[in-house]
């Protein structure tokens, strides 16, 4: 029994306090300086089994609360009067599934009153918010990484690496099969991704072949880790697999592949929100992968086309010098609407056929038509002696009821006879070839005809021209004469300027003529835009007299 005075004080303090605690919506525990529970309200007793007056805090309370109490009574400054605010730090911890914030305050005689506030909901909301922030950051980063490359392989590797780091312990990206193998990228969290080609039936993995088809969209599938084939496990991934998810990578109308997420045994299975997150990631990765794949296909097609369409290197054929030059309109499009070819005669006594032309339009359409014309002309070389017939057949092959895309071209049959070169020239709607004589005269070949590919009938007039040693016949496309530039910036290079320039090239080797005209046209253009420019020079080589008697009689020539 406490002394009366003391006890009266107790009553004054305890009675209203106890009543308040009972009614308080929060669990309240009062413990004294020795760590013994003094008082408990019903809410606290319900929350913590065994917390009754007289029990030791360390025995019955959660350890974090018991420790906080011990700290408070040892380190805390006990207030001299109940009204004095002694500040004690709040603590946080779990009781069962719930999270609590415990707010201490001083009671009488160095007792500490613990108010417990359930903050589970707030904690969950905070955790969810921070998870969402992390995911948003990750998705933004993933988009940056994935969109940085239009290379399919790099894109697959990046997808696997990102997925392994954020979504699982390991990830496998499977691309749709090309031929009988499937490109695969493996990644283990924290390691570099690797790629491989796998020859296996995707239908052996449940859900994989559906995911690879891409459409209709299928949900992620949980599969039994036991069914996984060996190739699915990335190198460096040890330990048993706990859970596996197969998620399709949706592309732009084309299947982009499938993402397989692996988690080791110790880790929790994928939650619903993690699955949603995985799908959000898969959508980005799929978009990036299919963009990369479309780009790769397109650049493959362009490369394939271009390989055959690039202008050939020209050299001396059957005693005649050929030189060519080609400047496409766009630096990024090495193939354009101009073209030239030299088809050598079978023997020295058969003429070689030169064709130079210009196809209307630009880009891939023009490149395709160019290829068609070059192939057709090549197939028609056996009748190279009849230009009119060649042009009629070529025209028939190109005619199309859908459009009137046409080509203009020049055919030249070239034959070396003794020291001279004999040319048969035919223009089909093309600027006539120019001939540079040794004395500097420049003549336009008198040939004229209809463009090919747009009209039911074509006609052309051929002309025969002879070149003496050192003389050159230049075939060109209108990109040269229509180069806009000059001192005022908007003047055409024009035929007269071209003829004057050629006049200055008298006696030069063919390659030098081509280079000089190209250089002058480029100077004229400066940095201006221009159309494709193609040039072919046919030159009768200068010969060396081996046994000339007086310089006028015929000797033997080498060339």
């Amino acid at each position: 029994m406490a002394p009366p005075k003391e006890s009266s004080t107790t009553i004054i303090h305890e009675q209203p306090a106890s009543g308040a605690w009972v009614a308080a919506p929060y669990p309240v525990v009062v413990a004294d300086g020795s760590g013994t529970v003094v008082e408990v309200n019903a809410a606290a007793a319900f929350l913590m089994d065994g917390v009754v007056p007289g029990a030791g805090m360390t025995d019955v309370a959660p350890s974090w609360l018991a420790e906080a109490h011990a700290d408070a009574v040892v380190g805390g400054a006990v207030p001299r009067s109940p009204g004095e605010a002694g500040v004690l730090p709040s603590v946080r911890g779990h009781i069962g599934d719930h999270s609590f914030e415990a707010h201490p305050s001083w009671g009488r005689d160095g007792q500490v009153v613990w108010w417990l506030v359930d903050d589970t909901g707030q904690r969950l909301a905070e955790a969810a918010l921070s998870t969402e922030r992390e995911r948003a950051t990750f998705l933004a980063e993933a988009s940056n990484v994935l969109m940085a490359s239009l290379n399919t392989e790099r894109c697959m590797l990046a997808t696997a690496r990102l997925a392994a780091r954020y979504l699982a312990d390991a990830a496998v990206v499977v691309a749709p099969a090309s031929g009988r193998t499937m490109p695969v990228a493996h990644a283990v969290a924290g390691q570099e991704a690797t790629r491989a080609l796998v020859a296996d039936d995707p239908s052996l993995v449940p859900g994989l072949s559906e995911a690879l088809q891409g459409f209709p969209p299928v949900p992620s599938r949980w599969i039994d880790p036991v069914t996984l084939p060996g190739w699915m496990l990335p190198e460096g991934f040890t330990g048993p697999i706990g859970s596996v998810a197969v998620t399709p990578l949706p592309g732009h109308g084309v299947p982009a592949g499938a993402l397989i997420l692996l988690r080791s045994n110790g880790r929790a299975e994928f939650s619903e929100s993690e699955e949603l997150f995985a799908r959000q990631f898969a959508a980005r990765a799929g978009a990036a992968l299919s963009a990369a794949r479309l780009y790769a296909e397109q650049s493959d097609i362009t490369r394939t086309l271009m390989r055959d369409l690039l202008p050939p290197d020209l050299h001396r054929v059957n005693g005649v010098e050929f030189a060519g030059g080609y400047q496409p309109a766009g630096a990024r499009e090495p193939v354009g609407g101009d073209f030239y070819d030299v088809h050598p005669g079978g023997t020295e006594s058969e003429p070689s056929l030169v064709v130079l032309g210009d196809v209307c339009g630009k880009g891939l359409d023009a490149a395709v038509l160019t290829g068609k014309i070059r192939n057709t002309v090549q197939a028609l070389t056996p009748m190279a002696d009849d230009h009119q017939k060649m042009l009629r057949l070529l025209n028939g092959a190109l005619l199309n009821s859908h459009h009137t895309r046409f080509a203009t071209l020049v055919l030249a049959s070239v034959l070396r006879t003794e020291s001279q070169v004999r040319l048969r020239l035919t223009s089909a709607g093309h600027p006539a070839p120019l001939v540079v004589r040794n004395d500097g005269r420049v003549e336009e070949a008198a040939t004229h005809g209809t463009l090919v590919g747009a009209l039911p009938h074509v006609e052309a007039r051929s002309v025969e021209v002879h070149l003496q040693p050192g003389e050159t016949c230049l075939l060109y496309t209108d990109g040269v004469t229509e180069a806009r530039g000059g001192p005022l910036g908007n003047e055409l290079f024009g035929e007269e300027r071209l003829a004057r320039a050629l006049s200055g090239c008298a006696g030069l080797p063919g390659a030098a003529v081509v280079e000089r005209i190209q250089m002058l046209a480029s100077q004229w253009l400066r940095d201006g835009r221009h159309d494709d420019m193609a040039l072919v020079a046919i030159t009768a080589p200068r010969t060396t007299h081996l046994s000339a008697v007086n310089g006028h009689t015929r000797g033997r020539y080498t060339a």
Binding site: V359, T404, F406, A428, E444, A446, H448, A454, P456
Partner: protein, 141 residues
């Protein structure tokens, strides 16, 4: 395209009873030729004229796609039995038509005697476009 402050090409349509005239101004090239082709096709379909005039007085540029479009309009006119006229072609266009060997496809009307409508008793030249022969040309060499 026509929403640009300075349109690259202008095609003004003047439709008479039996004659349609398209006044072409500006650049007829890769970017604009589709517009002319569409307008010409629409006029041929809507008015069913005997004569289609392309007035080229204000034409500044004609590239290979422009030539292709003239050929397309010519093909369309030939299929419908419509005479195709090229009025007041600038010298550069004349040169292009001469080099490509297609000058004869278009009937010419000199700039000073442009007929407004009636072509009832026309006797000048064969009805286009039956002839594909070459125009006479003197070699310059």
């Amino acid at each position: 395209m026509t929403a640009l402050p300075h349109p690259l090409i202008t095609v003004a349509v003047e439709a008479g009873p039996r004659t349609v005239r398209l006044r072409i101004g500006g650049d007829l090239d890769y970017d604009t030729s589709g517009e002319l082709a569409a307008k010409a096709e629409a006029c041929l379909g809507a008015h069913g004229p005997d004569d289609l005039h392309l007035d080229c007085a204000d034409l500044r540029v004609c590239d290979s796609m422009g030539v292709s479009t003239l050929l397309l309009i010519h093909r369309s006119c030939a299929a419908r039995g419509v005479r195709l006229h090229l009025d007041a072609p600038p010298p550069f266009l004349e040169r292009i038509l001469a080099v490509t060997g297609i000058r004869h496809l278009f009937e010419t009307t000199a700039a000073d005697e442009q007929p407004e409508q009636a072509h009832a008793d026309e006797g000048s030249g064969p009805a286009a476009p039956a002839m594909y022969g070459l125009p006479p040309r003197t070699p310059s060499g």
